[in-house]
């Protein structure tokens, strides 16, 4: 292998590790935040619902780049200093959570009221009814949408490099600029993302199969 490609793969593998370190906590955090805010938006009291709606509108309504800039470059002005990694993960979780909440909310509202009634009639509390009956059903319906959002997240994790996190895109761009070989570098970066996304699709399919129940979705 030519020294250029050797150096390229070394850099990209280093970047890949960082990308994965960004993606996993962001995906998990985003899903959890999405479930929480999705539930509150569907079932919360008026005030809580409005507050969560505002959060979702704000983070779905502004570019992620702007959110990251504010977190990393703006927050020091109010005395909050985040490391580049922390700023990126925080931004990703907040943005992803806003989108996830929409998938979760839609799925929650699609569960027939009768399921809730049946739980109530057995003496389950409101929280128990939602937690044991509505959420398990809704999450199965939300899974394809939530998976889609995780796939988006894998790709928008590349924005971390603009707050100086040296992940896949950042490492690649540095090298591309140094050697002025943009086509090769970015083509390889593209393949790396494609591989990551393919893995995610595979894992999500597996998960869908694992939690499949007759009567939900196909089959």
């Amino acid at each position: 292998m030519s020294p250029f490609f050797q150096e390229l793969f070394e850099a990209l593998n280093r970047g890949l590790v960082m990308s994965i370190a960004l993606i996993i906590p962001s995906a998990v955090g985003g899903v959890l935040l999405g479930i929480l805010t999705g539930c509150l938006r569907a079932f919360g009291d008026t005030f809580i619902r409005k507050a969560c709606d505002t959060y979702a509108a704000l983070f779905r309504g502004t570019p992620l780049v702007v959110q990251l800039f504010i977190l990393y470059f703006g927050f020091p002005n109010i005395g909050i200093y985040l490391t580049p990694y922390a700023a990126a993960v925080t931004g990703f979780i907040l943005c992803s959570g806003a989108y996830q909440s929409e998938y979760v909310r839609g799925a929650l509202l699609s569960i027939k009221k009768n399921q809730y009634f049946a739980a109530q009639a057995l003496g389950l509390s409101k929280f128990q009814s939602i937690f044991w009956i509505i959420i398990p059903q809704a999450m199965r319906k939300a899974l394809p949408g939530c998976g889609n959002e995780i796939i988006y997240l894998i790709k928008y994790s590349s924005l971390a490099y603009i707050v100086t996190v040296m992940e896949l895109t950042g490492e690649g761009k540095t090298l591309a600029t140094e050697y002025f070989r943009f086509t090769e570098v970015f083509a390889v970066i593209g393949l790396y993302y494609l591989a990551l996304v393919s893995l995610a699709i595979l894992a999500l399919k597996k998960l869908e199969k694992a939690v499949h129940i007759p009567g939900f979705g196909k089959g």
Binding site: N114, Q115, F117, A118, A119, Q120, A121, L122, G123, L124, S125, K126, Q128, W132, I133, P136, Q137, R140, I213, P214, G215, F216
Partner: protein, 252 residues
């Protein structure tokens, strides 16, 4: 408890939806082992009344007594306790779609009655056998027939040891050839002395099970009495049953 002490008593239940009065002050008092059957045209308030009786729909006004102790339906804790003791069977079964027949029965035993997994399964098995479904415990609702679903729903309600069972047209969503198996289960319950309030259009149930018939129309009970007293020519109830008869071709 003597037979004359009401096990469940509700008074002056009213409910309006968007300014439309659906229930206009309905009373009901139920002794242990008694079976009262609500009949009447659709939209008469039977279903709303049953759902108000365990506050799935909260009534606009009304008082509740369980075994002569007043129930404060605005206290969540009291309401949840009350609902544990008043079982409900729905028209469209309402099994938990994501749980097997077994788990449908055990869920409330574990989460509400705080039984451990083994005790809950043992109890569920007893109830599922009672309704003849001991071989279907691992199936999901989507894999069961309508009649089987309703029998699981009955097992699920009975596992909670309710003092009263409310049944909202338990057979009306079933094909004619599936109603029989559900009716048999209900008859068995009656034989064992289960206290019940049931809305139904099933003539055979009305005639043979009812201690009292309540004919509901436009949100009030317009006629009330024993089948013998009420199912005589000239009453609204008889007129209604005649209509049901001519539809089903069933003799009365």
């Amino acid at each position: 408890m003597t037979r004359n002490t009401p096990i469940l008593r509700v008074e002056n239940i009213t409910k309006s939806f968007g300014g439309n009065p659906i229930l206009k002050g309905v009373n009901l008092s139920l002794n242990k082992g008694e079976i009262k059957i609500l009949v009447g045209p659709s939209g008469g308030g039977k279903s709303t009344f049953l759902q108000c009786m365990n506050c799935l729909i909260s009534p606009d006004s009304g008082k509740f007594w369980l075994e002569e102790k007043p129930v404060d339906i605005f206290s969540k804790k009291e309401l949840y306790r009350y609902r544990q003791q008043v079982g409900m069977i729905f028209q469209d079964f309402n099994l938990f779609d994501h749980l097997t027949a077994m788990d449908n029965v055990t869920l409330a035993l574990r989460k509400v009655k705080k039984m451990d997994k083994k005790a809950a399964s043992t109890r569920a098995m007893i109830e599922l056998s009672q309704v003849g479904l001991d071989d279907k415990t691992k199936l999901y609702p989507a894999e069961l027939s309508g009649g089987q679903k309703q029998r699981v729903a009955i097992a699920r309600a009975l596992a909670m040891d309710p003092k009263v069972l409310l049944l909202d047209e338990p057979t009306s969503a079933l094909d004619p050839d599936l109603t029989g198996e559900v009716i048999d289960v209900i008859r068995n319950l009656a034989k064992k002395g289960m206290t019940m309030v049931m809305a139904t259009h099933q003539i055979s149930l009305i005639r043979t099970l009812a201690d009292e018939i309540l004919f509901m129309e436009a949100g009030t009970v317009v006629e009330q009495g024993s089948p013998k007293g009420l199912l005589v020519p000239g009453t609204r109830s008889q007129g209604f049953c005649d209509k049901l008869n001519s539809l089903s071709g069933e003799g009365i």
